[in-house]
């Protein structure tokens, strides 16, 4: 009897200990929430240290989504190269997917366990500035290294005059289409690619391109992609950023009403579906001839479409079912009356984040590695994969030897589009940035979805946006009339 009780007590203690142990291990597991974590230790290389600011060993964590299909694999190789020069620095990679990257990063940042470096789009920087985890990197990087980066790209990574990260690439997002169908619908494709087109011309083309079983235009608009529509097509109406040059909220301007009315026209006329189209679905619709024109589109789609046609010709079962032969053309978005021709561009880059282990010495090492990743051959590899030109001198130099499998016409369209990208105004505060995100997620996107479904009018959506924006920013801080 006594033995049983002793045994029971021992087992109880063991169970309690295991529970307590689980609790203790939580912080460590929270740091390793990535689907894959690879570690390269300093001991793996025997190279002599050349330029580290300290001999003290240091560990840097970096969180990245698959920027290119094989980015994490490439990163492992680059870390090994980096360790040849800096054997005292250990790099830990937290690989995420595009779907969970932002949520995982936000959660870790708020827990005080942010990775030292994270990949973000410039529009998300405000969130980390607002919660106090973003770091002013300018004091931890040499001025000559900073000079390698294009100023307009650095501007994207700057908020309230403070530089929070280094740009990796500037991507242009516009429209893509089937050349043969577009020409049959009356579009002068080459002219559009190099000179742009008006909204009226665009409307005429998609009207002519809409036939039985085929839409003239399909834009992915399900869930988060709704925001893409507003960003990318917003420039048609002259809205190139959430804020005007005098830092007034832009979505309350007459330009927004014009954009909403254009959407109303396109959906009610049947040139564009009035149902939700998933991101992957729109490309399939283009590849299978169910639409003439699609968005969002990027230059690299030319490669995707060529590879898919090759698979179809080789009877590869991985080819999209129903694929048709086509020539992909990258096109700028049309320009509405009174608006200046422009194309939506966004910069993605790496930012430095504060965590419980952050020290000045550590940050110098963090910037050393961040700069290494965002420049030279590393950046060039990413830019080549996404069919874009580098945003720093060293990357462009490394790109010289690389030949892009891109048609001359599309290359010309990309050059035209890049020349029309307008950087966001400087001086946007973290609070404005965070409020703009709330407006987009809680008001604009939901109302816009209702408009796409034909359940509300452009005017009602516009009125609702104005009402919410006046509450959030104050009417005096919201744009009125037509902005140029």
């Amino acid at each position: 009897m006594k033995i049983k009780k002793v045994l029971a007590t021992v087992l109880s203690v063991a169970m309690v200990s295991s529970v307590v142990a689980c609790g203790n291990s939580a912080p460590e597991s929270a740091q390793n929430t990535g689907s894959e974590t690879s570690t390269t230790t300093a001991g793996e290389t025997q190279a002599e240290e050349t330029a580290t600011s300290s001999d003290v060993t240091d560990t840097i964590t970096i969180m990245v989504p698959p920027i290119t299909g094989d980015y994490v694999d490439l990163l492992d190789g680059w870390i090994k190269e980096f360790n040849q020069d800096y054997p005292n620095i250990t790099i830990e990679v937290i690989a995420t997917s595009w779907d969970d990257h932002t949520e995982k990063l936000t959660t870790m940042a708020l827990a005080g366990e942010a990775p030292d470096i994270a990949e973000v789009s410039y529009a998300a920087i405000g969130t980390y500035v607002e919660n106090g985890t973003a770091i002013d990197i300018s004091q931890y990087i040499e001025a000559d290294r900073l000079a390698d980066y294009d100023q307009n790209a650095l501007d994207y990574m700057t908020l309230e005059g403070t530089l929070y990260g280094l740009p990796l690439y500037i991507t242009i997002q516009a429209l893509g289409g089937n050349k043969e169908m577009l020409e049959a619908a009356g579009a002068d494709v080459e002219s559009i690619q190099t000179k742009g087109w008006t909204y009226d011309e665009f409307l005429e083309v998609i009207k002519n391109g809409t036939v039985d079983d085929r839409y003239g235009f399909v834009f992915a608009n399900a869930g988060a992609t709704t925001q893409d529509f507003i960003n990318i097509f917003g420039v048609s109406a002259g809205i190139t950023s959430s804020f005007t040059s005098d830092l007034k909220y832009a979505y309350t301007s007459d330009n927004m009403l014009s954009l909403l009315q254009a959407v109303e026209t396109m959906t009610s006329s049947g040139y564009m579906p009035n149902y939700a189209v998933e991101a992957g679905q729109r490309l399939v619709m283009l590849q299978t001839g169910q639409t003439m024109l699609t968005g969002k589109a990027m230059p690299l789609f030319e490669n995707n479409i060529k590879r898919n046609i090759e698979k179809m010709q080789a009877s590869d079962p991985e080819a999209v079912e129903g694929t048709i032969e086509m020539e992909y053309v990258f096109l700028p978005v049309p320009t509405m009356d009174n608006a200046t021709a422009s194309v939506f561009g966004t910069v993605d880059g790496m930012i430095a984040l504060r965590n419980n282990n952050t020290t000045d010495e550590h940050l110098k090492n963090v910037l050393l590695f961040m700069d290494y990743l965002c420049s030279g051959e590393r950046a060039a590899t990413v830019d080549n994969a996404v069919y874009l030109t580098g945003v720093c001198e060293s990357a462009r130099k490394a790109q010289e030897s690389f030949e892009l499998d891109q048609s001359d016409a599309n290359a010309a369209a990309v050059a035209y589009a890049i020349s029309k990208v307008v950087a966001p105004p400087t001086g946007i505060t973290a609070e404005q940035s965070a409020n703009a995100k709330t407006m987009m997620d809680e008001t604009i996107v939901p109302k816009f979805q209702a408009l796409l479904a034909g359940e509300t009018t452009a005017q009602d959506v516009y009125d609702a946006i104005c009402s919410e924006a006046y509450n959030l920013f104050g009417e005096e801080n919201c744009a009125s009339g037509w902005i140029k």
């Binding site: 007590t9 109880s12 309690v16 708020l110 942010a114 709704t226 359940e455």
Partner: protein
Amino acid sequence: MKTQERQNKRLAKPRYHMADNISGWGFIAVAVAIFVIFTLYPVISAIITSFQEYKPFGSEWVGFKNYVTAMKNDLFWKSIKNTLVYTVVVIPLSLILSFSIAVMIMPFTKRIQSFFKGIYYLPGIASGVAISVVWLWLYDASPNGIFNRVLALFGASSQNWLSSSKTAMLSLIIMALLSSHGANIIIYIAALHGIDNTYYEAAEMDGARFFQKILYIVLPMCRPTTLFLLVTGVIGSFQVFMNAYMMTGGGPDNNTTMIGLLIFNNAFTYGKYGLACAQAILLAIVIAALTTLQFKLMGEDIEY
């Protein structure tokens, strides 16, 4: 007399008594530790955070500001309304369906009962995300979508299932109704097994028909079970998150934004932990009030 002696012996042997207590405390400690770590600490932490503007490196005490912000936010009330609508439709229908299926399964042999219980429980062991993906496919709004093809067979036009405010909530309700009965059916079958056969025999002798037996014997005898399923169902329904997150993202026009999704977005998309915690505390108060009300209305004359 012997009992008295035994008690005296126990009193005389405090060491033995202590060992007895230690093992008892040991067992309790497991549950207490789990409760403290995974429930009490997070709840206290959430209450504290709800009075702060949370920042990982230096939160600021803001009093009731987060509660005021939550109460003034139209979307908060809209999400409460959406959740209420979802709950009011899903829970009663789900209970009726589960009860009906359980009653229909009862006459079969144990083996066949087990087969049906397994079939109905199957969605419960599948990943919610995987089930959502299947439902997304079913609700595809293009004319090629499965449900739209079915409608086309009857000459009806395609529906924008998840993107129209007329059908989005209905779509989530249908999905909930058709994929979450397993546990309820099993619990109802257990309750039905607990009803003594003598009640049925007496009723049959009095000439009671099937529906009279259901109405006057089965339903009253299953009342504690129904109350249990109702209370846990309402609590679960108020915390519903994944369906809206996976299927509609809360759209269109926030018509399917449930309170759980709103709290999640505030915490993990916008990083507003303070506001999210305040909304979670308000939700807990609403759930507690509803639960009390249910016990008041249904639980007073129940004997356990």
